[in-house]
């Protein structure tokens, strides 16, 4: 009888208190904590890096890039690029990252742009100078934002790094690591920075990553109110420019003609108010006059 009553009590308890309610039972807590660490490790293997980690990695990659290219002190252009970039990022698939989006200009004639993991985006003065209006500059930035949305920089990291990192992370639950664990993680950190830096600055992303970034950029441009056709127009001018650029975008991106072919037929149709384009072009000219 007592057993029956006990069962009844338990059944009634669970019937009246939905599963989302909390019950402070030590055993369950212990199991959940175990489950949590297993889920954490499994997720880590499948998605090897959190947004917070991506942020710290991106900062290091940015620092490395700034060791190669000088940062422009053109405040007007930097602010303008930030305003365009922020406007586009709000219409992207990921309007917020852990540390937010930040845009900066590199003082070089080389034509290129780099998306560091986490949200720092560099555009060279050469690249900005190659654009003819705000729509095109937005197209360049939209392409880089797409790389961040898709975590393409993180994908450049060799999978063996994650195995090494997991050996430390998987056993250490605490936020503070021992000095030997930190040394191991710093080694993985360094290797990961190398992988991303080489991909961004030397080898470039894969063709499929570049094509996908162009396709997403078209959508971001449309959503934010810029003319998506501007990406196509910019690519055509880039292709028409011809000749080796001494590294830069032609070295790190697929053949521009292939990118044009990929974009062809994918430009979404949308009405862009000509008067607004005119206003944007006027402010572009105002900012770019001293830069060009």
């Amino acid at each position: 009888m007592t057993k029956r009553i006990t069962v009844f009590v338990f059944l009634m308890f669970f019937a009246l208190h939905p599963a989302s309610h909390a019950i402070d039972l030590r055993g369950i807590t212990k199991h959940l904590d175990t489950l949590k660490s297993v889920v954490g490790a499994t997720t880590k293997a499948a998605r090897p890096i959190s947004d917070e980690e991506e942020y710290y990695l991106g900062r290091a990659v940015a620092a490395r890039i700034l060791g190669t290219y000088p940062l422009s002190n053109d405040k007007g252009l930097t602010e303008y690029v930030n305003l365009i970039g922020k406007a586009v990022s709000l219409s992207s698939d990921k309007p917020f990252t852990y540390g937010g989006y930040h845009f900066a200009v590199l003082e070089t004639d080389e034509i290129n742009a780099f998306a560091c993991p986490g949200g720092i985006i560099f555009v060279t003065k050469g690249m900005a100078g190659m654009t003819t209006n705000e729509e095109e500059l937005a197209a360049v930035l939209a392409h880089e934002i797409a790389h961040i949305n898709k975590r393409d920089g993180i994908a450049a990291i060799k999978s063996s790094r994650w195995t090494e990192a997991l050996a430390v992370i998987g056993t250490e639950a605490a936020r503070t690591y021992s000095s030997s664990d930190v040394a191991k993680l710093v080694a993985v950190f360094e290797g990961s920075i190398d992988d991303v830096f080489k991909t961004l600055v030397v080898n470039g992303y894969s063709r499929s990553q570049e094509f996908a970034a162009d396709e997403s950029a078209l959508q971001y441009l449309l959503r934010s109110g810029y003319d998506p056709e501007s990406l196509n127009a910019f690519l055509k001018r880039l292709a028409g420019r011809g000749g080796p650029s001494g590294g830069g975008i032609t070295a790190t991106h697929p053949e521009t003609a292939d990118r044009i072919d990929n974009v062809a037929g994918k430009v979404p149709s949308g009405q862009t108010d000509p008067q607004s384009v005119q206003i944007r072009t006027a402010r572009f000219m105002e900012v770019m006059k001293p830069a060009k």
Binding site: K36, G40, I49, A87, L90, I120, R175
Partner: protein, 156 residues
């Protein structure tokens, strides 16, 4: 005996059980709960990484949430849904559409400020001061909103 058993049953059934609504934790360094579900809506409460919000209801790409007694909206990309945990620790929730479902579980693990500090110590020539200045130079929300409106762009 029977009446005692009945009393025990009643006490157990009626005992106040803390009710946890669906929760979410903030996964960006800083963000804001806004008056209504749009970018640039007035901020009703600033929030920071790991702050816990109570989810009221989904609203498209946004969530209506409650934070410290204030109700408002936050974008799905800024939070990660949690399920109430018995030990107070986060567990990945079901699909929120947010960027990651494991942020809370991974918080502070791997590449964290401690690793960055060691790396910077090892390579003091790395241009971190410039990176800090890039992150520090922010354009204000007001400036972005004005830029969008004055340029005839779509206000998201």
């Amino acid at each position: 005996m029977k009446s005692r058993t009945a009393a025990v049953i009643l006490i157990i059934l009626l005992a106040p059980v803390p009710v946890f609504a669906e929760q979410a934790s903030v996964i960006t360094k800083e963000n804001a709960v806004r008056e209504y579900c749009r970018f640039f809506a007035p901020v009703v409460a600033p929030v920071r990484y790991k702050d816990i919000l109570e989810i009221v209801s989904p609203q498209g790409d946004w969530f209506k949430v409650r934070y410290k007694g204030t109700e408002g909206c936050i974008h799905k990309a800024a939070i990660e849904k949690r399920t109430a945990s018995f030990s107070g620790a986060a567990l990945p929730g079901k699909g929120t559409g947010a960027v990651s479902e494991s942020e809370a579980a991974l918080a502070g693990k791997g590449f964290n400020p401690q690793v960055e500090a060691s790396y910077r110590k090892k390579y003091p020539a790395m241009r971190y001061s410039l990176v800090d200045s890039i992150e520090h130079d922010k354009v204000s929300e007001k400036e972005i909103a004005f830029f969008i409106t004055s340029g005839g762009l779509n206000k998201p």
